[in-house]
């Protein structure tokens, strides 16, 4: 099973695995935007553009 969502940047329809987790990051296969999964419904996921890395990010 897969779920579908639309890239908010280029409107490409992206398929993801059923076991995705809220907050997971993936790259749009069409426009390479970094996307974060912000909602998971039955057969649908909602993406938003992931946060930009800030200066204080790190390990």
């Amino acid at each position: 099973m897969t779920k579908k969502g639309t890239c908010p940047s280029c409107y490409f329809e992206i398929e993801v695995n059923d076991d995705v987790i809220l907050g997971e990051i993936l790259e749009c296969p069409d426009c390479s935007s970094e996307l974060e999964i912000i909602e998971i419904k039955n057969d649908e996921v909602v993406f938003q553009i992931a946060e930009e890395v800030e200066d204080d990010w790190g390990e």
Binding site: I21, E51, D55, D56, G58
Partner: protein
């Protein structure tokens, strides 16, 4: 037992931690820090322990402060994050406890920094006190180059880029003197040691990236498993103890006089270390959380 994972996003490490928890039937929640709103007086969380893995240093730090103030147990602690997330405070802690670390100076102006660099000698290294992944870590080969970097930071930098942290350059083994960028098969290396609780769980060599002087994994450094020697274990566990660290990634450098602690990471990535050494680091983290909750 129930734990709460706090993070910026779900990366490989977070997925592994979740998998390891599911495998052991451990219950958990995930909090993405960008959506978080916290009441500074009282927040109710139905959880036994927090695992803080925020990539964002300041978010993680203040979340820890708030949670600990309300009596929650967070790994790693506020105190640990405060020291490890700041290179200057880390050096102070290491120096205070006589743990070998590269000599460093702090200065606040170009003039001051140039004076510190005269004392250190060239080449030297400049680093932002907060930050990671080798970002804005620069090798200052001579005075002219140092002036250029310092002027850039004075005019373009963030507030904390103007607190100049300057470090002695460490000549790693296998380095040709005067050649900073190695073209050999076995390039210069440093060591990443992972500790959990009072134990070293694995270590790996990280090799300098071709045409770079750094060996940061996120910049693409190759790695190999590294046998943990008693000296390595001793210095790593001592450093972990003084910074109050429970789950850490420590960077060691080899010198003719033994190991130096170069830095300590309190929200250490472990993808490279897992793949290189075959250690189930996520599993070990979950086991540690379980153990701590039984206390």
């Amino acid at each position: 037992m129930h734990f709460t994972l706090i993070c910026n996003k779900i990366s490989w490490e977070e997925k592994e931690i979740i998998k390891a928890a599911r495998k052991r039937n451990i219950e958990y929640d995930i909090i993405l820090n960008h959506d978080l709103v916290l009441d500074l007086e009282k927040e109710h969380f139905d959880t036994d322990i927090f695992l803080q893995r925020s990539l964002s240093y300041f978010r993680g730090l203040y979340i820890n402060a708030i949670l600990e103030n309300q009596g929650y147990r967070v790994i790693n602690s506020f105190h640990c994050a405060q020291i490890c997330g700041n290179k200057l405070l880390t050096t102070l802690e290491l120096v205070k406890n006589k743990i070998p670390t590269p000599k460093a100076y702090c200065a606040f102006t170009k003039k001051g920094a140039l004076e510190a660099l005269e004392n250190l000698g060239y080449p030297a290294v400049i680093k932002p006190i907060v930050g990671s992944w080798g970002r804005l870590v620069a090798l200052l080969k001579d005075r002219d180059f140092a002036v250029a970097v310092l002027e850039d930071r004075e005019t373009l930098g963030q507030l904390y880029h103007k607190i100049f942290y300057l470090q002695k350059y460490i000549w790693k083994p296998a380095r040709d003197i005067s050649e900073f960028v190695s073209t050999r098969d076995e390039p210069p290396r440093d060591i990443r040691v992972l500790t959990i609780g009072n134990e070293v769980i694995t270590a790996m060599y990280r090799y300098e990236i071709k045409d770079d002087w750094r060996s940061t994994a996120t910049l693409g450094a190759r790695s190999k498993p590294c046998k943990v020697t008693p000296e390595m274990e001793k210095i790593a566990l001592k450093a972990a103890k003084i910074v109050d660290g429970e789950i850490l990634g420590l960077d060691l450098m080899e010198t003719d006089n033994g190991y130096l602690i170069q830095e300590i990471n309190h929200t250490s990535g472990f993808k490279a270390a897992s793949w290189t050494t075959g250690t189930d680091i996520a599993g070990r983290i979950i086991e540690y959380l379980i153990k701590e909750c039984k206390k």
